[in-house]
């Protein structure tokens, strides 16, 4: 155990050095009380190592004084009585200074340890404060505690242990509280979302309903002899608004389905053209005022999609084009293959979508600033949810008019052709 012996070895060495120095000194200057010199060694030991090494140095010093300096030389006996007194006094003074020096040293050590404890706690608390997630915090606490207090760690005092544990407990508590607050905020947001949805939906449903009821009762009041043109107009209004109501209700039902998580796409190998044609056929009446141009290359690969989700997504986009583009302007549907994806564009010649709203149009509650044609929000939100369920994506391409771009992955394996 070198470390434990070290203080004594160094103390002995110090006494030896002082002894040699004293011996050299006494060659030139006669010193009656050599022992005073040895006090230096004792003090050095006390300051460096504490009480016991310094006592050891004192005993060695007395022995060295008796052996080397006081007659008879090279003998531990001391002849002259005043030299005996001298050594005795030296012993007492050495013992006292040892104690004093050792206490000063112990206090300095304690102060240093306290400072280290405070610094370590501070570092720990800084580390905990830097944690951004609950898991990270928990990991930091357990790592630090097992490092500082674990079985392999050097022993620590009780107070430090308590402070450390207290700090850890406090941090975990704070994290729990934070989580609770976040949860409460989320719940509040959910409520706001539901309310917004309800507002949006009831607006969407009530407007056409009001138009239908109003037109129907207006027809009644017109009676048999009413202006035939007015009658036809009211009849057309009832039909149009009922159709709008039907499509809005369908959207609401879809949204409920998406939110309830009940959307399991049935992916199968299909012709994109079939889906495009079905969506066009469904929206035939809505698109009545627009010439529709379809350009689908005949060698388009077959895609793995859910027919109905994809058809619905596309129908919603066509519906939007019909609603927002002025009558008579064309709606274009085109597709191409790019980097292993089929890119399908639906473009109208309407006012387009402002650059700032490119993403917001997919928000279920968003309505364009103009908002002259309501009900845009749900349609595109549903469209995006459906396309993503199919493994594709949909985004607005900035430019004149509105271009909705679908990207649909091309399946790796080509379908096996049946025998002719």
């Amino acid at each position: 155990m070198v470390p434990r012996m070290l203080p004594y070895l160094v103390s002995a060495a110090t006494v030896a050095v002082v002894g040699v120095a004293a011996w050299a000194l006494t060659r030139f200057v006669p010193l009656p009380h050599v022992s005073v010199l040895f006090l230096a060694a004792v003090l050095t030991s006390a300051a460096l190592w504490g009480f016991w090494p310094s006592m050891f140095a004192a005993v060695l010093s007395v022995a060295a004084g008796a052996f080397f300096f006081y007659a008879p030389l090279f003998d531990f006996r001391v002849a002259q009585p005043q030299q005996v007194v001298d050594l005795a006094v030296f012993g007492i003074v050495a013992a006292l200074t040892s104690r004093l020096a050792a206490r000063v040293r112990a206090e300095a050590l304690a102060a240093r340890r306290r400072q280290e404890t405070v610094a370590s706690l501070l570092a720990f608390s800084e580390r905990l404060a830097a944690c951004t997630s609950d898991e990270e915090l928990r990991a930091a606490v357990s790592e630090h505690l097992s490092r500082v207090l674990g079985p392999d760690a050097p022993p620590v005092d009780e107070e430090y242990r308590k402070a450390l544990l207290g700090q850890a407990a406090l941090a975990l508590d704070r994290a729990r509280l934070r989580a609770e607050i976040a949860e409460a905020r989320l719940a509040r947001q959910g409520e706001a979302l539901r309310e917004a949805l309800l507002n949006s939906v009831s607006h969407d449903l009530q407007t056409p309903l009001a138009a239908i009821l109003g037109s129907a009762t207006a027809l009644e009041t017109l009676g048999e002899q009413g202006d035939p043109r007015a009658r036809r107009e009211l009849e057309a209004a009832i039909r149009d608004q009922a159709e709008r109501l039907a499509s809005d209700i369908e959207n609401v039902l879809d949204l409920t389905r998406i939110r309830a998580g009940g959307m399991a796409p049935r992916l199968e190998l299909v012709e994109l053209a079939d889906i495009v044609n079905a969506a066009l056929r469904r929206k035939q009446r809505a698109l009545g005022a627009h010439p529709v141009a379809v350009a689908l290359p005949p060698d388009l690969p077959m895609l793995r999609l859910d027919l109905f989700l994809m058809e619905h997504a596309l129908a919603n986009v066509l519906d939007n084009a019909a609603k927002h583009a002025p009558a008579g302007t064309p709606v274009r549907v085109g597709a191409s293959v790019q980097n292993g994806e089929v890119v399908l564009d639906v473009t109208d010649a309407g006012p387009g979508i402002p650059a700032a709203d490119l993403e917001r149009v997919f928000d279920p509650f968003w309505r364009g600033a103009g908002a002259q044609a309501a009900g845009r929000g749900l349609g595109l939100a549903i469209c995006r949810a459906f396309v993503e369920a199919n493994g594709g994506s949909v985004a607005v391409v900035p430019g004149a008019g509105a271009t909705l771009r679908f990207r649909l992955p091309v399946p790796e394996a080509e379908p096996v052709a049946p025998d002719e």
Binding site: E268, V270, E271, A273, D274, N277, F308, E311, P415, E420
Partner: protein, 231 residues
């Protein structure tokens, strides 16, 4: 024409029955109403209808029972009414022998067109020559022409076309087509059919991506248009 034909309307919702009766009677058809499966079966036996409009949404899926009971003895065209969210229902109805379907909500003009077409198909005698637009199929000589030019088809392609011609104007389900062309073992290989239909369209259609003759009924099957459906 079939004006005056007797139509059985089966729907459990009185509002729907009312507008169907008013709409159909307004065009000269005579209408019998039934609100339940049992009443429908009884009415069909008492006054055999020339066409049936059947709501698949009857309670307890009884719409299918009406359909299969009717098909035991009647070949009267059946137009089923279904809602969009239940696509599987449609396929089952076709497999049970339905002739056409209309998705609720629908407009009267749409239903009237379907009714007219179904009644006309019923009275049309089987002819050896089928033609729609520029497509001609000579069943007797097994010849197919597009815009006057003869088109060579593989035996399977011709068989597929033949089945569609035999059911021209009607939706033929994937299962029916697969069973007829490839045999019962391949009834569920819809993928086959899609790949095959692409080839057939390539031979017969000017723009296979926008077919004029061979229409897809999404998730259900295919329909070969008749001349009056081409409009």
């Amino acid at each position: 024409m079939s004006e005056g034909a007797r139509i059985l309307v089966v729907d459990d919702e009185p509002q729907i029955r009312r507008f169907l009766r008013l709409g159909l009677e307004g065009h000269g058809y005579s209408v019998i109403e039934a609100a339940t499966a049992e009443a429908a079966t009884r009415a069909a036996v008492a006054h055999p209808p020339e066409l049936v409009v059947l709501d698949l949404g009857l309670p307890d899926h009884e719409g299918f029972e009406v359909l299969s009971a009717l098909r035991e003895w009647s070949r009267a065209p059946v137009i089923v009414l279904s809602v969009r969210s239940r696509e599987g229902e449609k396929v089952r109805a076709f497999d049970l022998g339905a002739d056409d379907y209309v998705v609720k909500p629908f407009g009267m003009p749409e239903l009237l067109a379907r009714v007219k077409a179904a009644l006309r198909r019923r009275t049309a005698a089987a002819e050896p020559l089928f033609s729609v637009g520029g497509l001609e199929v000579d069943l007797a000589r097994r010849l197919v022409r597009v815009e006057g030019a003869e088109v060579r088809l593989s035996p399977k392609q011709y068989r597929l076309l033949q089945v569609l011609v035999a059911n021209a104007g009607k939706v033929v389900t994937h299962r029916q087509l697969l069973g007829e062309v490839w045999g019962a073992a391949h009834r569920d290989d819809v993928q086959y059919l899609r790949v095959f239909m692409r080839k057939l369209r390539g031979r017969l259609e000017a723009d296979p991506a926008r077919p004029r003759y061979l229409l897809t009924e999404l998730g259900v099957g295919y329909r070969l248009r008749t001349p009056d459906q081409l409009a």
